[in-house]
Symmetry: C2
Amino acid sequence: MNTVDAAASARKAARIMAGLSSEDKNKALAKIAELMLSQTDEITKANAEDLKRSQNEALAAPLLKRLKFDHTKLAESAEGLRSLIGLDDPSGRTLLVNELDDGLELYRVSCPIGVIGVIFESRPDALVQIAGLCLKSGNALLLKGGSEARATNRILTDLIIKAGQEAGLPDGWIYLLETRADVQEMLKLDQFVDLIIPRGSNEFVRYIMDNSRIPVLGHADGVCHMFIDSTADPQMAVKLTVDSKTQYTAVCNAMETLLVHSDHAQKLLPELAQALMEAGVDMYGCDRVSALLGCPEVENWHTEYLDLKISIKLVDSLEDAIDHINTNGSGHTEAIVTSDKDKAAKFMLLVDAGNVFWNCSTRFSDGFRYGFGAEVGVSTSKLHARGPVGLDGLMTYKYKLLGHGQTVGEYADGTRRFSHRKLDRSCPL
Amino acid sequence: MNTVDAAASARKAARIMAGLSSEDKNKALAKIAELMLSQTDEITKANAEDLKRSQNEALAAPLLKRLKFDHTKLAESAEGLRSLIGLDDPSGRTLLVNELDDGLELYRVSCPIGVIGVIFESRPDALVQIAGLCLKSGNALLLKGGSEARATNRILTDLIIKAGQEAGLPDGWIYLLETRADVQEMLKLDQFVDLIIPRGSNEFVRYIMDNSRIPVLGHADGVCHMFIDSTADPQMAVKLTVDSKTQYTAVCNAMETLLVHSDHAQKLLPELAQALMEAGVDMYGCDRVSALLGCPEVENWHTEYLDLKISIKLVDSLEDAIDHINTNGSGHTEAIVTSDKDKAAKFMLLVDAGNVFWNCSTRFSDGFRYGFGAEVGVSTSKLHARGPVGLDGLMTYKYKLLGHGQTVGEYADGTRRFSHRKLDRSCPL
């Protein structure tokens, strides 16, 4: 099948998916998990093929690790699908009710978006997770995984299709794109595809945005800050700085710039530097920090190191810290360490970011840690969904208006008047 | 000031606007209304200038009517601002709470989007309404109105700026673009502008989408349907058909295509045709309808007449009606007339549109009628906001995480475990 036909089929399937009951969707999730576990050998064999080819092509070790889909990861993936079964159905929820008049009731009700296109990295477990989220939310799915994982992705998709058929899902609800040309084609199909979710580098997300009319849910870079206020508890400041910077450096919610109140220049700053040095972090500073610590100066305050490197700046006030962040940050995750509740409140109100934290590590901004179950990605856009995006981000809503023959003419000529009363009930249909 | 500087100022102002209290914003709304009423003469004089110039340029009568901003419209606009004061502040609302662990609490809190760019038609009352909505929601605003209204728009903007200064709003929170070149410039400024709302024709909205990286909230065409089911009450069917088609033909929520169950071919169809004919509507039909009524055949089922014209089709089932709508509709407003609740439920579940109606006129899909107060526009996109968009559509959210020094390391190594409990409380800061 070519991409256009696949997208057209997905559109048709999406309209059926929107009408599935929670039981139908949960039955299919269970069936996929069951088939995965019963085909462990075939799946790990396909994965071994991917691993061998990629080793021959000298794929870097961390990428090989992500590509690996062994018994443990397979069991975790199946468990992840089963945990989705326990979640409430995100579809069909009444979000707002207005009585417009006696016997004329308006309901805002959640429903799936339709057809989602996801382009993801070379982790086969991501395929299972994304398919599970789309199924639970009632969306159809076009998928493109990393080409390193092609054999694993193919066997997993075939299995998901088979499980879906057995569980009564419509044909074409999931389709695996195989080439970059397929992705190019998909980006043009705004009549069939409602949302693109690209997972990958900043440049990659930007490229997708620039080459499609379809709305894109993705994230730009993560230039995350931590501000150590004058009233910060010193021990907490050290602990949170080290965790935010070093707990895992290669991710977007790792801290890149440390802002320290100038009251701390003589005592806490050297302690922070000592702790960072012991953790193997290379430091770069503003002119004052550079002079105090003897480290090189920062060249660009909008730098995402994704490495054991950090920018450090002394600031003279909360306001200066907020200004620096709003000027140089990327709207991802920004933290303040302070004992002053009012300062925390001001910081969290005025910093323009998807995630604003008080006295905890920047590394918490993640769908799993937030308790959203799985996540489809992190959004640094402000529209539709912001921050870690779980099932919610795959939903839209429709307005259902239930009447008894009312015409607008009656209200226009004054025969009838709107009541506009808030009601507290769920949509009866 | 040029557009780039204005947009940069708006970005700065937006960060201050986000921190304003409800009282600050309401005070400014009251001040604008007060100044408008005290400068009635100056405003109507500027409007007379616009009207005279536009008459000389032979502007069409309906457009002249929209351009007119007399004492009545001015008083209505001031009243509209005052009604915004009475609405709840859409900012700072707690939308979701998760306890991640003891003393580690996550809140999703609503906040303004930032800088909104609005391009609107030649109604000066739209300027007042949009400015009021942006102020109430805490957003900064770049505005471009129709050039016919330039003198009225200028005096209104100057007055709003003056009132804002007196009420303590930040400089630069609102700025009037004067030329099309300014708009072109704004479309490039994705570093300063968060959302573009173009009000106007389908082609215009499409042009904006194709020429900007900035997200666009707008609407495509409104090819709205009404399906008369086999169990429809005949009298209601006639009444709703006539209202949906003729109550106001030039708008996107007017019905364009009537689908009639084939059970009604002999009796109700001729009655519907009679009523439409009496209302001055030209009919076009499918082959069967054309033969029965002796009217011309429809050439294209995706036609938005915006006029006293209608397409009529006989369909043999509810499923055929849903299929026809999902294939030919524009996702705007789709209605069913039926006495069968199950059929209504199925129609509303499976029709993919922002507004799905049972036994009432398509003309109800409108922000005022929905009880949202003012509306910034109607969205036929499925992302962010769908259907008539009120204050809600100008909001985003941020996640606030309140901790006591927690690191991710503690959870990664198993020292601590997430509780992930839903809580029912508002964010304390």
